[in-house]
Symmetry: D2
């Protein structure tokens, strides 16, 4: 009846998500929520100051959880990136803060009557996505994390640079935790019509280096400006659009895998109800071991966060 | 042969401008320049991390003035918003800093061989636009400031809210300085098929309040988040697109008016060569007096800045 | 919950409307209906053959009225342009055919449970819009015709050409019937910050010629290719987007005016429920007389068509 | 300096290509050419009638070959689809007509001084692309046919329908002639993270049927409406955008393969200079044989057409 998206958390990422939605006209109604009332009001006015110069119109509501009752999607960008400042390369520095925040937000989402799809960006995203599902009680398929959709894009960027091609012409996935235990599943990565592992040597690609770069890619950006926002916001809005369109597109996102008993990133078919189908990759034994390690790590952290 | 845009200054505004260009696919080539090498590199990587999830591709070059030689447009977002922190509502707090910076940037632009259109956002924008023209020696029509394109959008937002209509359904202009001496030229503002002055009383619009709001609109946003970026970035990119398209669209932007002997905002027809034609409004005597006051103020400040 | 649009009639106009919706990603779900089963199936497959090369996804349903129950908008492009071939410049040549067709379609729309907004393009559009409202029993504000949104665009094109400016920089309306009794309400037309009547002489604009051109603009295109489609399809999709966005934008469209007791084109504020507010222009006596003449003509034709 | 595209041939396909470019704002300048002066003028006016209701502006020039001198891309949609009416499923029915036309057009392109990239849609496309290259004398990498970019999209549509996924989530190619000798290279087709040949049986996909459907897909649409336009126009505009963006995206298009000594469809990396790199697939022996057969057929037809 309308495309309605809620964005919770108006920090660097959430406001970039909201701007991308407003500037691209992806939603008809946009609900912005933040505990910092001044910040969210300032962003809302700033978006409205843009509208006379935009081709589309978006109706904006501020800090009203009840407006989420009939939203299609809620994007969670709750976070406090400053907690990362002295944390080194570890997305878990934010967990003690974000897990408390997210439980509160999730409870309010539940009380709003929301019954759409939650897209979590908040880090550590796999644990946070689990918390959202647990607290809201929404079906598991309706709660998704952006996960390695971003890391896969980083891997594609690095492979594409090495081959002088467009990142969209690289296929394949980073799997597992959107964090240090993730890995590029090289058995799935293809470019120029062939497995990348086959062409790496002849084309001078150092796969270990690319794997490392993709995993720490966020930290390079983070150290350069104190946060990352454009890559992850783009991943989140792409995911939201796939849900709105009911596109059934294949995306590596954080979704609940029963055999691993946890949320973690693994490609899935995404549509209006969230996860429509889960892929069954033929991974190598080494990749399967890495995936298990990553799953175990996320489960442990999730258990801790719910104590 | 390609759409090529340079963005100089990767602060809150410049990076938002660049993101909007990348996410909307407005340019084929994008040149990003900032004296903070780490910041501009971080933004460039962040944009490239977005590209696997975007429908269009943009080629990004970093900190290479020579790449501007064949650019269509340079958008100047040089600035240091922190200088505003204790300045109250005065965009001139940045001038001592930005005027020095901009002279240096303008000299480098000149040396690059650039011969396109400069779009200045840097505040105080009318003075800065004057400096760009003076130092680069580009024809006056090829140097434009976003000026009151933003303030007019703010006025439209306020009028539109009061009438419960779309800001794009309000026409008219804020004129003069993009600063405290500007004013809404109410004789030009129309909505619902009539002059707004005619319907204000019956519809409960307080025009003085709206005028004031538009003038200080930026400060409300500024006080809420420490900067403004979405409204002004949208205005700048719209202006850039009008230049690229050679659209000959009418926009209130900062352009050089011979009879006032200064840059200031006044509606003009904009195309590939920048200012194609200047409007000749029938302003009231009061509006003409305000325009002269605003012009005198800008001229004084410009003279000071060139000493 | 989704943007869902139905398009009824897959002739030159309807298929162009559908293509524009698919290529711009304006809708998530698209229902295509035509009595020519082979044609509508061919178009649906042709659109699906486009999708692997498009950035967005649209789900297409063919010839299923029940799918309209929860549609936001139905665009009626039912028609048989060949009936115009020997008709000279008269959109009423199609009425005997289209009025029968439209009554049938309207009945099926009613039975589907549709409760959104109908956008009629079918000619003679003011009479057809009246029929849709009458037969479906939908509230008058929810049934709209594209009307002179197209003719106003033609007038703007002609004025803009004469002034060497962008048509979007001309404001004002053609009013009345989308047919031979329409007229340009010159008292409403403005460009370059002034009434066009004031600048016509100095800028060499022949307003009578432009008025005539706008009224017969469609026939020039019609005689060149046997139909018109791009201008009117663009008007219809713009109108649909304004409804979806709940933008409250001002558009000259065919809407029911109580004081004239008929549908005819007159600017209105358009939102999710269709007509949100009707403008009250200050027309000249001559314009008022023309409007009355146009209204009388439409009422007579509507009465005939319902006999 | 601007994005400038020429479209030659304003039939069903050419006018759809032009409309898509105008409605999406892909080009700043558009040159439309057709021997039917009335038709091309009618389309140009129809596009201009759309512009007041569009967010972007496109400058249109009609029937002026000299305007192509600095165009980035020329899209050839010359053709006469009615010649197919009694031809059965054979795109060569048009060749005697189109080869004569295209030689004339190519000569005029050469004389214009055009030095950009030619995108040929005209059928039989591989032969026609060869003629364009031969007559214009442009480097082989700058002359491309849309080829099986469309057939691959049709194959993806069919596979995607069978798997209930998005066509964009299917990778792989149809190779060879855009005509009856083409084939789906199943060794290259992947979906759900696996080769489609592996999952076909378990998912109930009949690959022979899909192969056949993709090859004759155009004929189903053709028989339903007498022409095909949306799928092929979308492929052509996507290809044009990849050239404009210098995206280096991988696309299966008709390009000159030295080892086969002919134009035919085979994936390549496409950028501003056209073909940037040619892929080297590991095809099966059966696929290689089919490719050779297809190449031989095209070469024979090309030789005949140049006698």
């Amino acid at each position: 009846m309308t495309r309605k998206i809620g964005v919770i958390g108006m920090g660097n990422v959430g406001s970039t998500v909201a701007h991308y939605i407003v500037s691209s006209g992806s939603a008809d109604d946009l609900v912005l929520i933040d505990t910092n009332e001044k910040k969210v009001q300032a962003d809302a006015i700033d978006f409205e100051d843009a509208m006379a110069n935009l081709p589309t119109h978006t109706n904006i509501t501020v800090n009203d959880y009840s407006a989420l009752a009939d939203a299609d999607i809620i994007i969670s960008a709750v976070g406090q990136i400053k907690l990362q400042d002295n944390a080194g390369d570890d997305r878990f520095a934010e967990l003690p803060f974000t897990s408390v925040q997210v439980k509160d937000v999730a409870q309010k989402i539940k009380e709003s009557g929301f019954h759409g799809v939650i897209v979590a960006i908040t880090n550590p995203v796999d644990v946070i996505t689990s918390i959202y599902q647990e607290v809201t009680g929404l079906p598991k398929n309706q709660v998704i994390g952006t996960g390695t959709l971003l890391d896969s894009a980083r891997m594609k960027r690095a492979v594409a640079k090495g081959l002088d091609i467009d990142p969209r012409s690289v296929t394949g996935y980073n799997l597992g935790e959107h964090g240090n235990s993730q890995f590029t599943a090289w058995s799935t990565v293809r470019a120029l019509g062939r497995p990348v592992t086959e062409i790496a040597t002849e084309r001078g690609l150092n796969l270990d280096e690319i794997d490392h770069d993709a995993r720490i890619g966020g930290y390079v950006v983070f150290r350069g400006k104190g946060y990352t926002n454009y890559g992850v916001a783009t991943a989140a809005v792409r995911l939201a659009n796939v849900v709105l369109n009911d596109a059934h597109e294949e995306l590596p996102v954080s979704n609940y895998r029963k055999e691993l008993d946890t949320y973690l990133s693994y490609p899935a078919i995404v549509g209006r109800n969230g996860i429509v189908e889960q892929l069954q990759l033929k991974l190598t034994d080494e990749e399967l071991a890495k995936l298990q390690t990553s799953a175990d790590f996320i489960k442990t952290k999730f258990a801790e966060s719910m104590q």
